[in-house]
């Protein structure tokens, strides 16, 4: 099992109030699955993604990633896992504005301590795979939204992670561009990658092979398509 969540809670303290973002979540994901997470705004989708992506830790319960208990790890150990196992794609792209597309894609390799000699080759390979070859030396503000999201996907793929996490990757794109991005995810899934994707749109979710619906921090349904 790649991901195993058991009786997991995430609670935020806001002043004296407790916000239960996630309650009693238990589910697992196997290698190669393509999972869509849906639910109304505030239902806990992003919170769940952040925990699965090791950006955050659960308040209670257990999260096993490849058999390792993540809840017990410290900052640097979490960083190592993010570097080696996780690829993030954000709704707002989150590219570094002062760097070129190439440099943005290369950055995870540097943090992953890849030797310089092999880096350039990997970057070109990955950028070609998302159809960005000739835009490599442009900065993000010189690229269209679709192109930016391709750079972000290339950056997520560059370390060959075990899981690709995408939080509303088409949320800031028009439907045609969104569909193009979804085709890239389809290709990645067909190549055997594990993908977890958050979306509000039913037609986007239908690309996935499994749909998990959240409501008020709980799993409301979990169905295969």
């Amino acid at each position: 099992m790649l991901i195993e969540l058991r009786d997991m809670f995430k609670t935020y303290e806001v002043g004296t109030q407790q916000v239960h973002a996630l309650r009693d979540i238990s589910f697992s994901i196997e290698e190669g699955e393509y999972v869509a997470i849906m639910g109304p705004s505030g239902s806990g989708k992003s919170t769940l993604m952040n925990i699965v992506g090791c950006l955050d830790t659960p308040t209670e319960g257990s999260y096993l990633l490849k058999g390792t208990e993540v809840a017990a790890l410290d900052d640097d150990e979490l960083a190592e896992i993010r570097s080696a196992e996780i690829g993030f794609v954000f709704q707002t792209f989150n590219l570094l504005p002062r760097m070129t597309a190439f440099q943005n894609v290369e950055l995870p390799l540097i943090y992953g301590r890849a030797a310089r000699q092999t880096r350039a080759e990997r970057v070109w390979e990955t950028m070609d795979a998302v159809g960005l070859g000739e835009r490599a030396h442009h900065r993000p503000n010189e690229l269209s939204g679709g192109q930016r999201q391709r750079v972000a996907i290339a950056r997520a793929l560059i370390n060959r992670p075990s899981i690709i996490l995408a939080d509303e990757p088409t949320g800031n794109l028009d439907s045609v561009t969104g569909e193009e991005i979804m085709q890239i995810f389809r290709g990645l899934s067909d190549a055997g990658n594990t993908i977890i994707l958050v979306t509000h749109e039913q037609y986007i979710a239908e690309h996935a092979s499994r749909i998990v619906k959240l409501l008020d921090g709980r799993i409301a349904s979990d169905t295969m398509t």
Partner: protein
């Protein structure tokens, strides 16, 4: 063909990573030119004053120590005026003259070795239409050569016979030789010293200059001739050296006793004359450089502190502005140390550029002082290295806190930051 070892390759990879961080830091600083420049001002002033003052002191040190050696180390000089005067010098003017008889009495002391009485005035020199104005004219004896450490380049020094017979003999300094005899050999030529005719018997080796004043712009004549020519109502300076095996202190005590007795200084009153030694000059010089060092340390410390606080401020602002960037970097695998190192390097680059500008400015000031004033200056590797080190240390010291803050930002919170 040898394959480079893995350590070397890892080293290269490390260096490359550093290069990456360096380039990204420079990119950031370039995008905030004005702010970075203002921050660097303190560092520039700090390192600049460090380099310029240290260069100045190094220059003074080397010229002064050379000078002190050339004067002769054991010399004791009795005169109305102390070499190093503090406060009002009017009180010295009313003091009784020191006489040739005093010099003779000092010379009779057993603790005294050689004695050379000497008198000074300033006169115009002339030879064959060439004129030198207000040159130092010294009247003395043969012993003056040894006690005051003069070396003869050509010809001879004043002799006992010159003194005995009140000869019109003159020994000229290197500057005088150069000025009055640019082509001809001065030996045997007749020059005018204050209108009177003297025959050149010797030329002195150059002693160089001290604080921009030449020590070679002088002539020496027999003391007896001096008195006949320019009058005897002038206070005498008694230069002497301790006798073989006697300490300078012992000799000074004896001289003090004799002089007080001859000048009838009542018991309990202070001396109405001065006994000068090299040490007085040395300690005066040391207190001067001490003041310079003190002032420099103050300025440098303050400027680096102000610069450092500026650096810290800029770095904190930079961390705040780039919170989201830090979140993104962490999300894609940056460790705490990667982020801390990035900001620390940025801070060091900030102070490093400031330091480089300050060092360049300091070297410039030192060279300018050397060129337009008589003060010597010597830019030393030590001064430059110290300034560079201070700049770097300031970068680290004041960059640590912002860098640490950046490093420990929690990734989700950083990503949420608007």
């Amino acid at each position: 063909m040898s394959v480079p070892g893995t350590e070397i390759r890892q080293g290269i990879a490390k260096a490359m990573e550093f290069r990456e961080t360096l380039l990204s830091s420079i990119r950031t600083l370039r995008s905030h030119k004005m702010r970075s420049l203002l921050t660097m001002l303190g560092i520039v002033i700090g390192t600049g004053s460090l380099v310029s003052v240290m260069s100045l002191i190094a220059g003074l040190n080397s010229s002064v120590s050379a000078q002190f050696q050339s004067v002769g180390t054991d010399i004791i000089s009795v005169s109305r005026y102390p070499w190093v005067q503090m406060g009002n010098s009017d009180e010295f003017r009313d003091r009784k003259h020191i006489t040739l008889e005093d010099a003779a009495a000092v010379g009779r002391l057993r603790s005294v070795g050689l004695v050379a009485a000497n008198i000074h005035t300033r006169r115009h020199l002339a030879y064959d239409g060439r004129v030198m104005k207000y040159t130092l004219v010294t009247g003395s004896t043969a012993e003056y050569e040894i006690i005051d450490n003069y070396l003869v380049e050509e010809g001879r020094f004043i002799t006992d016979l010159d003194v005995e017979r009140r000869r019109q003999s003159v020994v000229i300094g290197a500057d005088v030789a150069g000025e009055l005899f640019p082509v001809r050999d001065p030996l045997g030529k007749d020059v005018r010293v204050g209108g009177r005719r003297f025959t050149v018997v010797g030329v002195l080796k150059s002693k160089g200059d001290i604080f921009g004043e030449s020590l070679d712009d002088l002539v020496i004549i027999p003391i007896t001739t001096f008195q006949k020519a320019y009058g005897s109502r002038r206070s005498v300076v008694i230069d002497c050296s301790p006798a073989e095996g006697v300490s300078v202190e012992r000799t000074m005590d004896d001289i003090r006793q004799v002089m007080r007795a001859r000048r009838r200084v009542p018991r309990g009153e202070p001396d109405d004359f001065a006994i000068n030694t090299q040490e007085d000059l040395m300690s005066a010089y040391n207190s001067l450089t001490g003041v310079l060092y003190f002032a420099m340390t103050g300025i440098v410390g303050l400027a680096l502190l102000v610069g450092g606080i500026g650096v810290m401020n800029v770095m904190l602002v930079s961390v705040a502005e780039r919170t989201r960037e830090i979140g993104v970097r962490k999300a894609i695998g940056a460790r705490r140390g990667d982020i801390t190192a990035q900001f620390l390097i940025e801070s060091i680059i900030l102070t490093g550029i400031g330091g480089a500008m300050g060092i360049a400015g300091g070297v410039g000031i030192a060279l300018l002082v050397k060129a337009v004033t008589p003060l010597p200056a010597e830019v030393t590797v030590g001064a430059v290295a110290l300034a560079a080190a201070f700049a770097g240390i300031t970068g680290v010291a004041f960059g640590v806190y912002p860098a640490h803050r950046a490093g420990k930002l929690r990734p989700i919170e950083a990503l949420r930051y608007e």
